[in-house]
């Protein structure tokens, strides 16, 4: 397929006679040999699957070529081999969902109503094989009972050699159960069969609790077998925790398949001489989480160990930071800035509006009579040109639009197509290419808001399209060119917090050539890591901290401020001004970006004799005592660790993520120092996610005992004459166990510093647990909604050291996107105040969510255009009508309403 000619009209696919299983829908329906992977694919270009194409296989057909309106089909295309010179490489080849087909125990291959979790995602999806209707494959009837089986291809060595936990399946199973209940027309009975529920991420525990409240059943069990009944329902035989055999029947079973590395990816890594971990993921060090064993090659995402989307995105930015670190001298040498023609002045000209009506293939034209709509648009005031395009967004149409704008002397453009959310930037660029100010543009959404929702009533949809275009034209005629504010960027950073995150952030910024002020309120750098003994890979942390400190001292681009706090903060992206208060008085620093690396604290419990008996210690205290030589692990004979102390309870309704691994590490260290020692870990769910599961396995094989308790029967610790006595209710035996101990380790929660002042100074939100709230929990994990402010480390959520390092690198990558531009353009769609109407009542600066409005010396409102996000709240709230929003003026909005 010639990508420049393909306009993604779909004619090739419509006419292609060959039907094959559609891999996008996991084979649940069919696609053609000429196809596009999915409707929103990027690039949106059709391709021919030569392995299945009748012409390629048998030499006859060519239907696609015959019907292609643009002559894009080219059977002569050959594979090309290109040599590319690059400075570094990032491998982000991802994972392959575990395929349960060959494994008899999962009964997947023979029973149609046993589906994988990814198949179930497609069943739930509106773009899936049944358009989002919840049905089971065998008879397309709606299931009333669905079971999810966890750990399919995870934590399983007997059949598939996957000793690791896949880290994402608990959460996606809960999500699928919750959404399936929403889709269900009956009261769907959803049951999740699990070993440990591992909801360790930000807000995960709340979601788990919410699902329980919504009636999702969680059954702690081991599955024995799945068999099929005559009506194709499925009977699950399982054993409960206390060893009882049970049987239950379900209409459908979803296998929560794990993650694995694809064989071809393993081959690629071997070819590149990159070391793999025991679980066949790319192996990295906790201190350099995105660096592979091969110099210049970096890794991110699930290929560096099973992980979820937010962590993959974080690592992706981290890998960008690491990959760029050594290339900064060549920054900008190959990337090109786009050049645009000079802007044509339109002030005082009579509006000449061009309307481009899009057919969107058949998306719009299949319902709306686009020709009638185009004909109607010609009759509207100021409209001097109307065009109709099959795909207005295709590259050739963009080129044509640029020509038409010049030829017809258009000075306003309306595109009647899809949504400005996705396509406005593209069309605005076309305007700029044609020498028009990009704000002389308006869209009418005749697809998402018309043809899609009124597909059953074409006549009404056509009339609605006319209404929408009439409104858009009315507004367009009043549009004025807007100037974007240009801001200089101060090329340096302020990093608040000198723990592992802050130190790594400073060093990575320096590697890219940027200065930073590293501010620490304590008298030394290092933060919580100073009290930590080893990483999850058993690497000692103290020497690593020494190395970081030495490198920082030797780095001229980093200024360290110890015993220093933030007194005042003002400014905005590119131009922050912050007052630091330290030993030597106050100092004002100017910086382009701010990195929040303020860390978190350790919860101090009021239970289990903590603070009353010196043999009861927290994790950090045990590590500190070992590091300081006050505690000799070889002298510990009987140790008990209690998990979830202050976590997953009403006061802190979240999982602290690191404590299970920490207890297992400590238990292993005791066993190493004294193999005869008795070590017991009292837990609620063991959450050794990812390849940490191997530590859990090792601990069990070395004789560490694991006893589960629940919140209703918490363990008790008593001091006796010869030591400590821990009492716990054992679920298997259903009776109290009395365990002697000479050391009780408390796996205490990580708690937020709740720095409200900092939150206010930098306009960053905090959630109800006190964690700073990122701009988007999945896709912008280190950004804030406030531009130019980023975060890393425990201030975001409890996390192990390697994630803090990755997040610091990610924050630097994001920060460099700001710092590397000498100046930035801010959108022209901002509010302005007509001070003749302003009475200084203060309503607008009270309601402004971005604190973009202040009082000037006359007491009147004034907008800081760099802070304004153009939300319009001030316009709506003012009683005098003084504020107005550029691009969305009151006059423009009124004209739209009057046109309706």
């Amino acid at each position: 397929m010639d990508l420049d000619k393909c306009i993604a009209c779909g004619a090739c696919s419509d006419k292609c006679p060959k039907r094959i299983p559609n891999e996008y829908n996991e084979g649940l329906d069919k696609r053609k040999a000429a196809y596009v992977r999915y409707a929103q694919a990027v690039p949106l270009k059709y391709g021919i699957d030569a392995e299945n194409c009748i012409y390629f296989q048998k030499g006859k057909c060519k239907a696609c070529q015959k019907f292609c309106p643009t002559g894009a089909v080219n059977y002569e295309q050959q594979e090309e081999v290109r040599d590319i010179k690059v400075g570094s490489v990032i491998i982000s080849a991802g994972f392959k969902p575990f395929d349960p087909t060959p494994y008899v125990q999962y009964s997947y291959a023979n029973f149609p109503n046993v589906v994988t979790a990814l198949e179930f995602e497609r069943i739930l999806a509106a773009s899936g094989p049944w358009m989002g209707h919840l049905v089971r494959p065998s008879d397309e009837a709606e299931p009333k009972k669905i079971a999810w089986i966890q750990c399919v291809g995870s934590r399983e060595v007997n059949t598939c050699d996957h000793p690791y936990c896949s880290a994402v399946c608990c959460m996606y199973a809960i999500k699928e159960a919750v959404i399936a209940k929403e889709h269900s027309h009956t009261d769907l009975d959803a049951a999740i069969f699990f070993m440990d529920m591992r909801t360790f991420g930000k807000d995960f525990e709340r979601y788990y609790e919410g699902a329980q409240e919504d009636g999702v059943r969680f059954i702690r069990s081991r599955i024995h077998s799945i068999s099929e009944l005559e009506d194709r329902s499925l009977q699950i035989e399982y054993a409960t925790e206390d060893g009882q055999a049970r049987v239950e029947t379900f209409d459908m079973v979803v296998l929560s398949q794990g993650l694995e590395t694809a064989p071809e990816t393993i081959e690629l890594c071997q070819k590149l001489d990159i070391n793999l971990s025991p679980g066949k993921f790319i192996s990295t060090s906790c201190f350099e989480p995105v660096t592979t064993s091969r110099q210049g090659i970096y890794v991110c995402g699930a290929l560096a160990g099973p992980k979820d989307i937010p962590l993959s995105v974080m690592e992706a930015s981290a890998a960008a930071c690491a990959a760029a670190g050594k290339l900064s001298s060549a920054r900008g040498s190959l990337a090109q800035e786009q050049e645009f023609p000079e802007e044509r002045p339109v002030a005082g000209d009579i509006p000449r509006v061009g309307v481009f009506v899009c057919s969107c293939g058949i998306n719009i034209a299949g319902v709306v009579d686009v020709e009638a709509v185009a004909e109607y648009a010609r009759t509207l005031p100021y409209v001097t040109f109307v065009g109709n395009n099959l795909f207005t967004c295709s590259q050739d149409t963009q080129d044509k639009m640029t020509e038409v704008i010049a030829e017809e002397g258009l000075n306003r453009v309306v595109v009647a197509a899809c949504t400005p959310r996705t396509h406005e930037p593209l069309f605005q660029e076309t305007l700029v290419n044609a020498g028009l100010n990009k704000y002389l543009f308006e869209m009418a959404n005749i697809r998402n808001q018309d043809s899609w929702v009124h597909s059953g009533d074409p006549a009404a949809a056509t009339e609605k399209a006319k209404d929408l275009i009439r409104m858009a034209v009315a507004k367009a005629a009043l549009l004025a060119p807007l100037q974007e504010v240009q801001l200089e960027v101060t090329p340096g950073a302020l990093i608040i917090g000198g723990g592992v995150s802050g130190m790594n952030a400073a060093l990575n910024l320096a590697a890219q050539g940027y200065t930073s002020h590293l501010v620490e309120r304590d008298n030394a750098l290092g933060g919580n890591a100073r009290s930590l003994r080893v990483t999850a890979q058993n690497q000692p942390i103290a020497p690593y901290l020494d190395e970081l400190r030495e490198r920082i001292e030797a780095e001229p681009l980093i200024t360290v401020h110890l015993n220093t706090v933030i007194k005042e903060g003002e400014g905005f992206v590119g131009n922050f001004k912050t007052t630091l208060a330290g030993d030597s008085g106050e100092e004002v620093v100017e910086h382009g970006v701010t990195l929040i690396c303020t860390g978190a604290g350790e919860y101090k419990p009021a239970e289990y004799l903590y603070g009353q008996d010196p043999r009861v210690m927290t994790h950090l205290e045990i590590d500190q005592a070992v590091l300081g030589g006050e505690l000799d692990l070889s002298e510990v004979n009987k140790a008990v660790f209690i998990q979830c102390v202050g976590s997953r309870d009403p006061e802190h309704p979240y999982c602290s993520k690191v404590c299970c691994t920490h207890s297992v590490e400590s238990a292993l260290a005791i066993k190493e120092a004294n193999p005869e020692a008795q070590v017991v870990i009292l837990y609620r769910d063991i959450r050794t996610f990812g390849e940490r599961e191997l530590l859990y396995k090792e601990a069990r094989s070395k004789g560490v005992l694991f006893v589960r308790y629940d919140l209703e029967h918490k363990p008790e610790v008593k001091a006796t004459d010869d030591g400590l006595m821990v009492t716990v209710r054992d679920h298997v035996l259903d009776r109290d166990l009395l365990i002697e101990a000479d050391l009780v380790g408390l796996a205490t929660a990580i708690v937020s510093h709740k720095s409200n002042e900092l939150a206010q100074m930098f306009k960053i939100p905090m959630d109800s647990d006190g964690w700073f709230l990122e701009a988007h929990q999945k896709l912008r994990p280190v950004d804030f909604a406030t531009d130019g402010v980023f975060m890393a480390g425990l201030a975001h959520y409890p996390k192990p050291l390697e994630e803090a390092v990755a997040q610091a690198q990610a924050a630097v990558a994001r920060a460099v996107t700001v710092l590397s531009s000498k100046e930035m353009m801010l959108p022209g769609t901002v509010a302005f105040i007509d001070q003749r109407k302003c009475v200084g009542c203060g309503v607008c600066w009270t309601v402004c969510p971005y604190q973009a409005i202040t009082q000037d010396d006359k007491g009147l409102a004034v907008v800081n255009e760099a802070l304004c996000k153009g939300c319009g709240t001030c316009v709506a709230s003012c009683r005098s009508g003084a504020p107005n929003l550029r691009g969305f003026t009151n006059q423009g909005v009124m004209a739209q309403i009057m046109a309706l």
């Binding site: 596009v36 929103q40 995105v313 690592e315 992706a316 050594k326 920054r331 999945k778």
Partner: protein, 61 residues
């Protein structure tokens, strides 16, 4: 002093799923040329197959 080695201001990203796309965007937005290599005909990876995502229930697309 050793002469600074000439480096190439371009990076290759192998795999166009959510991680590869984010790496590519961050690099391009900081002044590096990026070659994003994907074996399938569209970028997006497994995330494009997900229906809705936690916690916002946003469409993964």
């Amino acid at each position: 002093m050793a002469k600074a080695k000439q480096v190439t201001g371009a990076v290759m990203v192998v795999g166009g799923g959510i991680a590869g796309m984010q790496s590519a965007l961050d690099l391009a937005n900081s002044g590096y040329y990026v070659y994003l290599v994907e074996k399938s005909p569209a970028i997006g990876g497994v995330m494009s197959q997900l229906d809705k995502t936690f916690p916002t229930n946003d469409c993964a697309m």
